[in-house]
Each structure stands twice: as structure tokens, then as C-alpha cells.
Subunit: 278 residues, 2 copies
């Protein structure tokens, strides 16, 4: 964590993610690369849909303005068209071409050349995927927080946990990014007297996945919603988490601790554990 | 679209996305690259959390099994640790290293070396981002389909459209990926008699964004929900879309046609138009 700031730049450096499509790929990989330099501050700009020469020149102008202001810009690009990349290369920035080099490697490996078309990767050629995601998101909304037991037999996974352990965002991520049908069910005080799983989900035990967290973290998150309540007290959080973890263990429900994990990480673990695919 | 299948491989080729973290970056860029070869079929495998030598050797064994079966595997990797990349390189596959090369470029540009730690990019160092996303997803669920007018003044954007034009998935994507507060409101027959915007959202006109689609596409999507109904008839869809577009134009509500766009594309256009940032 002691990476020094580059010697010749005073303030934050400019980082551009320039794309001929949505910018999702450029942002994802660009951010993954920048994360290796935690000691340097970056001012980030995403510029999607750069498809004409004029648009590329506009981007170059704004990059050069940053360069002139001493923000030594970095440009991460996934623009495919060679002419547009040529224009971006005229800017006063370090250009990091995320696609073109790998495309050449792939062409060699596959023994064929990539179609020269400006490929719309996220384009809706993929109607099935769109429907699957739409249905999955609607399913997730309907089944959020134990609201409905309708069609619970269709759930790919049922996430169970005490309130505020991260069920909802994880559910939505699995639905939206992977088209999975995910229900979630909140464990409350009523669910603990018995030995088994709560009645509402007992039939789907093999599809249950549990979340837990640390009492401190849970108390902090609950405090956000209801400050200084019994609900958010460290004592109450400690009891609920201990009971939930006991319930998971007794019923052989796989579970993970969400306290140090992002939504992406939790989703990846759940898919791996439950052997689910997009 | 006439890219030939590589001559020496009969069935689909194996494509692996191998990561020391969630696999999101490897999948995103790997898929963007493979999309350039629409004529070749790929059998895709995502392998997240490869962090030990033993795990890397297990991955190599499964890649080699694919190679021996004639599926000429491609491996896209974002694994950072050199020793692990060394193990992956011993497999009988074409290895495409998505991170290491660019990291070297970046080190040169920044005049410093990347921290050698196995960086957890998606790690929850970023508690603020987690809270923002969690709140945004809950806000989106509460305000889906015009369900609540509470705290509508806090919306970053209000998406309006007739039923089944893609409001819900786009809303959820903006909430989850960008932490934006998005409400959505369905335009129904009741909303058209007047000249202005529907009463529920009239106060927030400058934050409204409209969706439309083609009558054929809308009819197809509605048919999924209620086959052979008045609701899904081409005639009804044509009328509703014409009315909605008139309403957008009259009230200067920016709008886009969702029929050929993915959720990612719609979200990028909305953010660009409404000048929203993550």
C-alpha cells in the first residue's frame, strides 16, 4: 500500500475508458488494472458509443485538455475500428489497447480473421438471454424477502439469512447477470424454535444457501436503517447470527460470511457451490 | 458472418475464463473477444478463485482433457501471481493473458510497479459502494412499476414506458451496477387523455426518460406473458407505443427504442443523456 505517486504528476491522473459500445468491458478491465496501483488517485471518465471520426476527435480534444492541465491521462480502449484507434493514438496520452492485441492472438489461434464489422457484442442478437434476464429479475422482485411462495419450486437457489446480511443485492446480481431464478427468505426469531429449516423453504432444502456476517458489521448495516434500536444492537445481532449459523450447520445448508465480500464475490461463490451456470 | 470454422476442430472449441477472483473481468473481456468469431461455437467454462498451485494444476488437468478430446482449448486468464500463470502455461491450450501485458504497460506509464499482493479488486474495501448499491437496489424494488411515490424526489431518473418495454431490467441494472436511484412508472390507457405527463411523475419531468420499442417486438414480449390477448395484440401495441412517443415528444422527455438494445446499452445511453455518473 506504499506505492508512491508518480513523481511528475501532482493531482489525480485522468483515466479514460473509451468504447465503441457501452464501455462495460473497457471499464471492467481498466478498473481491474488500475486497482493494482492503490497509491495513485485517478479521475475516471467513461466515454461510450464512439463510432465516428468526429466523435473520436472530440474525445482526443478532451484528453489533450487533461494532458495540458498536467493530469497525464491514461486511455483504456476497446474500440475495434482501426481508423478510430488511429485517431485516439494521436492524443497526448498513454493508450492501452485492451482488445486489438488479443484479437490478433486469437486470430492466430483460431486460424481465421475476425469479422471486420463493428461488432455489437452486447447487441440484442441474443433475444433468449434478454428474456431469461427479464424473467429472472421479475422472479427476484416477486420473491424478495420471502414475499411470495408461489413458484418457489422453480428457484435455482433460495438464499436464507437474517435481515441485512446481503440477500437482496446478491439475489438481484444473480438474476441480472446470470439469468438465475433466485428467491430469498429472511430468518426471523419465529424461525428458530424448530430444529429444521423454516416451513416456507423446508421443501427446497437442497437449494438453500445461507449468508452470515460478523455481529459488528451487521450492527453497523442495521444502524443505517434503524439507528439505536434493539434491532441494530450488537447483542441482538450476535444472537441472530449464532442462531442462523447453527441452523445452517444442523441442516447442512452451505453458507458464507458476507462481511468482507462484494456482491460479485458472493455470487461467484454461490454459483460455484450450487453448481449453477449462467 | 461467414467466418469458417477452424479447419482442424470438429465440434465446439473449449474456452476457459480462469481467474484468481470472481472471474467477472476474464468473462467480460473473453466474451467480448470471442464475439468477433460468430462462426465458431465455443463451450465456455468460468473458473473463479484459483489461488493455490493445487487449484491451478486441477484447472490444467481439465483443460488438457478437453485438448485430448479435440476441443483445442483457449484459456483467457486474469490470474496475477506469476507462479500460477506459469502453471496454467503448461497446459495444452492457447493462453491469452488479459492482465499481465497491460500491467507492464501501466507500470511503465506510471513509473512505479504494481503491488505484488494478490489484489482483491472486487473486495469490499469499498464499503461506501456496497451501501450505495444496496440502497439503490432497495429503492428500485420499492419503486418498480409505479408501486410507490414515496421519496420519488430522490430519484436520479424516472423511467416511463408502456408495459413490457424493458423498464424493470434496465432499472435494476442502473441500481446494481451504478448505484443510481431509479424509479419506473408504467404508462397505461389512463395516462393519455391529458397533454402533460402523468400526475404521479409530472413534478419530476426533467428527470424522466422514456422507452419505446417496435409494435412487433412489444407484441412478441407481451405474448410471453399473456398469449393471444387484447393486451398482446399488434393493434393494441401499435396504439400504445404511438401514444407514448407522442407524450414523450410533447413533454420533451428524451427516449430511446429498446427493441434492438441490450440492458447494458440502454443503461449507457440513459446515463449519457441524463448526465449521470456511477
Amino acid at each position: 500500500m506504499t506505492t508512491p505517486v508518480a513523481p511528475d504528476v501532482a493531482g489525480p491522473r485522468a483515466a479514460y475508458f473509451v468504447s465503441d459500445s457501452t464501455g462495460v468491458t473497457a471499464e471492467t478491465l481498466g478498473n481491474a488494472l488500475l486497482a493494482n496501483f492503490p497509491g495513485i488517485r485517478f479521475l475516471k471518465h467513461t466515454i461510450p458509443f464512439v463510432v465516428t471520426d468526429a466523435e473520436a476527435h472530440t474525445v482526443v480534444a478532451s484528453i489533450d485538455a487533461d494532458a495540458d492541465a498536467g493530469r497525464a491521462p491514461l486511455v483504456f480502449t476497446t474500440v475495434k475500428h482501426a481508423a478510430l484507434r488511429g485517431i485516439l493514438a494521436t492524443s497526448k496520452a498513454t493508450l492501452i489497447d485492451l482488445l486489438a492485441g488479443h484479437l490478433t492472438e486469437l486470430e492466430t489461434a483460431l486460424g481465421t480473421t475476425a469479422s471486420e464489422q463493428l461488432g455489437q457484442f452486447h447487441g440484442l442478437g441474443d433475444t433468449d438471454r434478454y428474456f431469461a434476464r427479464m424473467r429472472a429479475v421479475e422472479y427476484a422482485i416477486e420473491h424478495d424477502d420471502g414475499q411470495s411462495s408461489r413458484a418457489l419450486d422453480q428457484a435455482d437457489v433460495v438464499i436464507i439469512a437474517p435481515s441485512r446480511c446481503g440477500k437482496t443485492p446478491t439475489t438481484m446480481y444473480l438474476a441480472l447477470q446470470h439469468g438465475l431464478r433466485v428467491a430469498n427468505y429472511p430468518l426471523t426469531d419465529d424461525d428458530y424454535p424448530s430444529e429444521g429449516l423454516p416451513r416456507a423453504v423446508a421443501k427446497y432444502g437442497v437449494r438453500c444457501f445461507g449468508l452470515t456476517t460478523t455481529p459488528l458489521r451487521l450492527s453497523q448495516v442495521r444502524h443505517e436503517r434503524r439507528p439505536s434500536s434493539q434491532y441494530s444492537s450488537l447483542e441482538q445481532c450476535t444472537i441472530e447470527l449464532r442462531r442462523a449459523e447453527d441452523l445452517y450447520r444442523r441442516n447442512r445448508v452451505p453458507f458464507l460470511n458476507s462481511s468482507t465480500k462484494s456482491v460479485e464475490e458472493m455470487s461467484a461463490v454461490i454459483m460455484q457451490t450450487m453448481k449453477l451456470r449462467s
